[in-house]
Amino acid sequence: MRKKRFSNFFYDYVQPLISNKKSLVGSIILLFFILMATIGPMIVPLNMNSDFANRYQRPSLQHPFGTDYFGVDIFQQIVHGSRSVISLTLFASLFAVIIGTVVGVARGYLEGIGGKLLDAIITVFLVIPSFPALLILAAIFADTKLNTVEVALIVAIWLWAPLAKQVAAQVLTVKSREFVEASRMLNMGLGYILFSDIAKLLIPYIFVNFVTQLKSAMEFSIGLMFLGLAKFDPTHWGVMLNYALYQAGALYTPKGFHYPFFVILNIVLLIYGGILLAQGIEEVFNPKLRGHE
């Protein structure tokens, strides 16, 4: 029975994704980064000892991405930094998507005071300026050592509201459709209608949003490090980029070009992989897009 269920899952979800070029390439890229974050640090040792005389060494066999302003191997830092980058940004995006979807679906479906109340909450989070709010949080949590999940939750607080607003709008257009009316007439519970009838239709849309949140989550997590809220990690790609651009002035010397380049390349690749996968999923599961094939 279990084998059959697995086989159905494979043919319904996995195979279509493999046959779609975009989702295949996207998945390979993301898998590469996940492997980098999980087993990479075990294979590639990290030596953070500075060696100023050997700063800005060009890429070579010894240093595949060259060395930075401190004379430290960039490749090693990218590999070790991928762990905090990927865990923090994935968690933060995931939390933002969960909160945004639940609140958005509920807001779209509910009418009357409940709906208005949720609308007000979404609006409040949309208009709170995130930077001063983060400063206040930094003051509150200054003494607390937050773990990755807690930091991700703090980041998610500032990311979920736009998604909730958009999901609510989508739900408003879906909820008057025939199948929802049918569920209502069959006296199906609110939970079933919200999360089985309506939320399913939004999955590709939500996934695309999840991927696009990655960039914002990364920016926020760097902000939190510089505010002293998150544990400072010099190998975090955002911190590396900050060092490269603002402290080492790598853009002002041809010697240092590779320093920000490889950091940016990895950030772009990670996000591009996610976007490709999201586009692939949308093409595979959105009936409208499939119709054009």
Partner: protein, 602 residues
């Protein structure tokens, strides 16, 4: 309307639009005019021209205000400016004012302006209460009577602080002159009562608060730039055109040195970021600036703009590793000594500020650049030299009962030697130094984490003691270039307030047992007497070096980049005038301009 007419109108509108755009861009880049020096700084916008208002006058300060004298630390020389001469007696300083000094609106500068300025700064800033009174026997003589608690070093402040002589010209601020005098008098009275250990009368305090608030509200809201349409100043330049991106200062034609000046205009571009200043220096948009610059950017700069020269001068301050003595871990001097031996300070300097001076192997509390002037060879021979030596650090720790378990050092109580190093995030050179210090200490076997202090929260975090170890300014001599400034900071004032080093305890020295607090007090009383100062400094240096309240990392330098493509007359690299730069580099430019040295290249 025919199509032809419509097209014609469209062409005309587009033409006017493009001509307007060109005009704006030409205006924005304001082409270099004869006798112009281009620099970079910051200023408040909209500009109000009120030194007591928010942001004061920004980087124009040393061009618009003159002190009684400039002091050149390297040559130990005072250069008279608004003062012709001065006489220092016990508790009294008599200053004879320059008779040909005038404000930029032509009004003469007299003793009345000095008295008014002192009243205003005491009323608005609650400083300097060391001045008990200022009297004027005649229009061109002022007598400062100092309070009995005023340190000898305060004479230097009176002579060299540009706020004291003419910050509030009487003819501009006369409307509030009586109010300012009243508030200043009340403030001094309350200060005197508090200093004697008594509590000031509540009624007196409430009257003061009300009157001071009232005055501050009125004065802070005043904008000479708006009300008078100009800012009359006694300095060599007056701000005349200020936009968000550019501040233009025009020469004060009534300045007593105006006939000598060959530069008649200063144009400041806004110092929005270090990167902007790097780019502006490379392109020749500005002719001089002092940004921190990574080594490779400097190399690139000299290739792209060979006319740029660089001169580094001490910033009269050092960056140090400081400890919070309320945390038990750091109370053990053995641990502090081990840390001093572990750190490779040259490496820290290389990555943080490569141009900074290598720190002295000693930690005696005297800037390395001033070591030979203040520490005798005999004293040096008595001091421990903290050169990088991991073995020595291990020996010290083992002797003190520390153990290395696995790769981590443990305290005698079995707890790991673990702490957080806090560093102020916006100070990028400090962050780089912290990163290196953390790396080196972790390599040795301590467990050290780095934590950034968010923008704007440094004072709050450090003063509340919410840190274990931190990167901070160590000793600084900027206000008064004398060891007293450094030891005062370390044992009584700013740094003591955040570290709480037990400075009143007595420490053994080859000359007996002394408390650094008492020695600093002694130094304050003999600061003007070099021989007596030297005697006290040797003891303080010994205590500071052997009991390590802080560990200096490097002496800060001011890298000054200047171009000789359009401006000539820059002094030689070993000219003592450069040492005037710390705490106000514009003083150097101002001195060079007003003495006719800087000129436009023909």
């Amino acid at each position: 309307m025919s199509n032809r007419v419509k097209r014609l109108i469209a062409v005309l509108v587009l033409g006017i639009f493009f001509i307007g755009l060109m005009g704006i861009s030409l205006g924005a880049s304001s082409t270099s005019s004869a006798g112009e020096l281009r620099l970079a700084t910051d200023w408040p916008f909209p500009f109000h021209g009120n030194p007591f208002g928010a942001g004061a006058v920004g980087g124009a300060w040393w061009f618009v205000y003159e002190p009684f004298a400039y002091y050149i630390p390297q040559s130990d020389e005072y250069i008279p400016r608004l003062a012709e001469s001065w006489k220092i007696e016990k508790g009294k300083v008599t200053v004879t004012l320059r008779k040909n000094a005038k404000f930029s609106d032509g009004k003469p500068f007299t003793a009345k302006d000095v008295i008014n300025s002192v009243n205003f700064i005491q009323a608005m800033w609650q400083w300097p209460y060391e001045i008990e009174s200022v009297t004027a026997p005649n229009d061109y003589t002022v007598v400062f009577t100092l309070s009995k608690d005023a340190p000898q070093s305060f004479v230097h402040t009176i002579l060299t602080d540009a706020a004291i002589p003419a910050l509030a010209p009487y003819h501009v601020y006369s409307k509030w002159a009586n109010q300012a005098k009243e508030v200043a008098t009340l403030g001094k009275k309350i200060f005197a009562i508090s200093s004697s250990g008594k509590t000031p009368d509540a009624q007196l305090k409430s009257t003061y608060d009300k009157k001071a608030d009232d005055l501050r509200k009125q004065v802070n809201a005043f904008s000479p730039f708006k009300t008078l349409k100009r800012m009359p100043v006694v300095g060599s330049f007056e701000p005349t055109k200020i936009t968000q991106s550019e501040m233009v200062l025009t020469a004060n034609k009534y300045h007593w040195l105006y006939p000598k000046m060959k530069i008649n205009r200063i144009t400041f571009r806004r110092w929005s970021s270090n990167e902007f200043v790097w780019a502006s220096l490379i392109s020749g948009e500005i002719y001089a600036a002092h940004p921190n610059m990574p080594k490779d950017v400097v190399e690139q700069l000299t290739i792209l703009n060979p006319s740029l020269k660089v001169k580094t001068t001490t910033d009269l301050s050092e960056i140090a590793l400081v400890f919070n003595y309320q945390k038990p871990l750091f109370k053990d001097v053995n641990l502090r000594k081990a840390i001093a031996y572990v750190l490779d300070k040259s490496k820290v300097r290389d990555v943080a500020v490569w141009q900074a001076s290598t720190c002295s192997p000693y930690a005696h509390g005297i800037l390395k650049s001033m070591e030979s002037k203040w520490i005798s060879k005999d004293t040096l021979s008595k001091l421990t030299k903290y050169t990088t030596n991991a073995k020595m650090a291990e020996e010290i720790l083992k002797k003190a009962g520390y153990k290395k378990v696995g790769s981590t050092w443990q305290q005698p109580n079995g707890q790991p030697v673990a702490f957080t190093l806090s560093v102020y995030g916006p100070h990028s050179d400090w962050v780089l130094a912290a990163r290196e210090v953390v790396q080196q200490l972790n390599n040795f076997g301590f467990k050290v984490e780095m934590k950034l202090i968010p923008d704007g929260m440094r004072d709050q975090v450090m003063k509340s003691g919410d840190y274990e170890a931190a990167i901070e300014f160590g000793v600084t001599w900027q206000g008064y270039p004398h060891p007293y400034s450094g030891y005062l900071r370390l044992y009584e004032a700013d740094l003591y307030n955040i570290t709480k080093f037990p400075s009143k305890d007595k420490y053994s020295t080859p000359w007996g047992k002394f408390s650094p607090y008492d020695l600093t007090e002694q130094l304050r009383d003999v600061a003007q007497d070099k021989k007596k100062s030297m005697d006290v400094v040797q003891k303080l240096a010994y205590i500071t070096n052997e009991y390590l309240p802080i560990i200096p990392l490097f002496e800060k330098v001011l890298p000054i980049y200047y171009s000789d493509k359009k401006i000539t007359g820059w002094p030689a690299k070993d000219d003592p005038v450069w040492s005037l730069a710390p705490g106000g580099i514009e003083r150097v430019y101002n001195l060079l301009i007003t003495t006719g040295k800087l000129a436009v290249k023909k």
